[in-house]
Structure formats: structure tokens, C-alpha cells
Symmetry: C2
């Protein structure tokens, strides 16, 4: 294939998708061109619209093409509960796995001063304002238990101090179905220290 051909450009563009190597990108390009141009046209159209129109929910900061996402706009969600997550994808995971019926707040990352990610970048001023809303009864931290995640959780706990709010975090420990010998040491130590009465 000559370097500048449109086919090559298509393969190169597909390679920028996460987890796609040169072979897969080539297979995708040939598949679309030879067997499913409709899928290619549709993907091009939806992709262009999505990149252009999807922004952040004004209330919870998740990805949406509306001013407010469908969860914040819903009247069936419980406004007394607020779950704080790092990424929009965490919302999908929680919605699929749990029966949580409250609202969300998306940080968009973890505090990391060295990378220039401070409280402002995570919208913590807006979160603090929400902590003061009278409706809110409990805030649940669902942040990854990494060093930066724990620092972020501490910072948020400080914001909530002095309010009537109940602050909790999801449990960390040995995953269900995980065999003890394959669990990393710090998870096991954490699970041990956090043991609960039976």
C-alpha cells in the first residue's frame, strides 16, 4: 500500500483507538470497505456528532449531549444520596452491578499536584456546594484505593467536615471469587485490618 492512500489513512486512524494494533486496524478497514460500508458510514456520522456535541453535565460532570444528564434530570433518582466517582465509566459499572438509586458526581480524575490536577480541575468547589444542599443525606466515595485516590478521598472528607452529611466509602478488600494466594499483599493487609464481625 502506498503511504498516502486513503486506505492507509483509514488504517492509521483506526490504530488510534485504544487496544487496536496494525493487524486489527487493517482487518477492520477491509471488513468495512468490502462487507459493511453502511456500518462505516454510520460510525463516521455518529463519531463526528459525538465529538462535537457531547459535553459535561452541568450538575454531575458526566459525559452527555444535554445540559443535564438523564440521571440528574430523572425524578426517580434519590436526591438524598450522592456517589462520587472518578470517571463516567464508573457510573456505567455501578449502574450495571448495583441497585444504587441516588445521584452521582464525576471528579474526572484524582488529585495529582505534580500533573497539575488540583481541586479546581476535579470540580471540588462544585462538590462542596452540593454538600451544603439541604436534601443531601449521604455521600458515598467510590474512588480507586490508590495513593492519589486516598489523598483525594481525604480532601473530600475535609470538605464535608462540619456538615450534617454522612460520608462513607465503598468497601475495599479481597474481590469475590479471588483466591487469597493471588491477591496482592497490600489488598490482603487492607482486608485484614478491615475485618468485620460475623
Amino acid at each position: 500500500m502506498s503511504e498516502s492512500s486513503l486506505l492507509n489513512q483509514l488504517v492509521e486512524s483506526l490504530r488510534r483507538l485504544p487496544g487496536i494494533g496494525p493487524k486489527s486496524a487493517q482487518r477492520m478497514a477491509f471488513h468495512l470497505l468490502e462487507r459493511d460500508r453502511d456500518a462505516g458510514r454510520q460510525l463516521a456520522q455518529v463519531m463526528a456528532a459525538a465529538m462535537e456535541r457531547i459535553g459535561r453535565c452541568e450538575r454531575c460532570r458526566t459525559l452527555t449531549e444535554h445540559v443535564r444528564c438523564h440521571l440528574c434530570a430523572s425524578e426517580r433518582r434519590d436526591p438524598r444520596l450522592l456517589c462520587i466517582v472518578e470517571q463516567p465509566s464508573d457510573i456505567v459499572a455501578i449502574e450495571q452491578a448495583t441497585h444504587y438509586e441516588g445521584l452521582y458526581f464525576v471528579l474526572g480524575g484524582r488529585l495529582s499536584p505534580l500533573d497539575g490536577i488540583g481541586p479546581e480541575e476535579l470540580g471540588l468547589d462544585r462538590l462542596e456546594a452540593r454538600f451544603k444542599e439541604p436534601d443531601l443525606g449521604e455521600a458515598i466515595l467510590a474512588i480507586s484505593p490508590t495513593v492519589e485516590g486516598l489523598a483525594t478521598a481525604h480532601y473530600i472528607a475535609d470538605l464535608a467536615r462540619g456538615s450534617q452529611l454522612r460520608l462513607s466509602r465503598i468497601a475495599h478488600g479481597v474481590p469475590l471469587g479471588g483466591e487469597l494466594e493471588f491477591v496482592d499483599g497490600s489488598t490482603l493487609a487492607h482486608a485484614f485490618a478491615g475485618r468485620q464481625g460475623l
Copy 2:
């Protein structure tokens, strides 16, 4: 995620790519939206152009956005050699792995009367016309050794009969690095029958 959201549409469109399941499609969508909108915009643009403008080379039937592909248009390729393949992707594989310097002809499939794929669908009339070109010295069949592939090869051999053309096919047998015990029976039988003197 509500069913009709643009984000959902993006995930669904990405799922139509070969080998992409729901989890990967979601990961791709979030990655592009949160970290690399440029890649998304570029993919949308190149994809739309490719689906619109890429057609078939008038001479060899491979995929190209030009009237003639860069191989057929090249003066450095040997016009005495013609390699007959099933798919455009086979050309990429042969170009990468071999030092073949001749031209190609893409069938676009194998003879399969039950699926409505006859000689016309494979462009065999055009191939027959090329067999009569005085320049051509050898035609090399690089078709998969399946039942339909072998039937296609036979049909093409009939087309070449009576001409001065030398017709060959690439060797079939045990793959390099393949251990005998893991090679399927018919390949092994084929390799045995086609043994060569040392």
C-alpha cells in the same frame, strides 16, 4: 445510560467493528471523548471519505480511491507476472512477506454457485482477457486450498488452457515452525503426496 443517548449510539456503532464487544466499544468511546477527541474527529472524517471514495481498481479489482491502484500504475512492477488472490488483504500479506514484483488480480471471493457467486462476480471474464495479453508470461494462483478455492483454481486453469501462459500455484503443506503432530490430517496428507526430492 439512556438508550437513545449519543454516547450509546457511539458505543453501538463501534460494536459493529469486527472483533469489538460491548466492553471494548465502551472503552473506546470514553477514551476518545475524554482523552483524544482529535483522534475521534480524524477517524470520523477519514472514515466518511473512505466509505465514499474508495472503489475498485479497474485493472486488478483491489480497493483504491484511484482509477488504477498504485501497483497497477507503477512502472517498476513486472508485467510478465500476475498473481491471482482472493482478497485485497492477501496483496498486503504477499507484499509484506515476499519479494514478488509482479502484478495482481483480485477475485473478491471463491466460486460458490449456491451463494450466487459465479465467474462473473469474480471478474473471470476480465481475467481471461488478461490471460490473452502478449506481455504475460506466468500466472500464479494464491488461492486458499479449500474445496471452493480448489474449484476456483480449476476453473481458472481451464481459462488459461490453450494459451502460452505458464500457470502455477503457491505451495501447500506443513507451515514453517509447525509441529507435525498439530497439523491437521488433510494438510499432512497433501504435504506427503507433494513431497519433493532433496
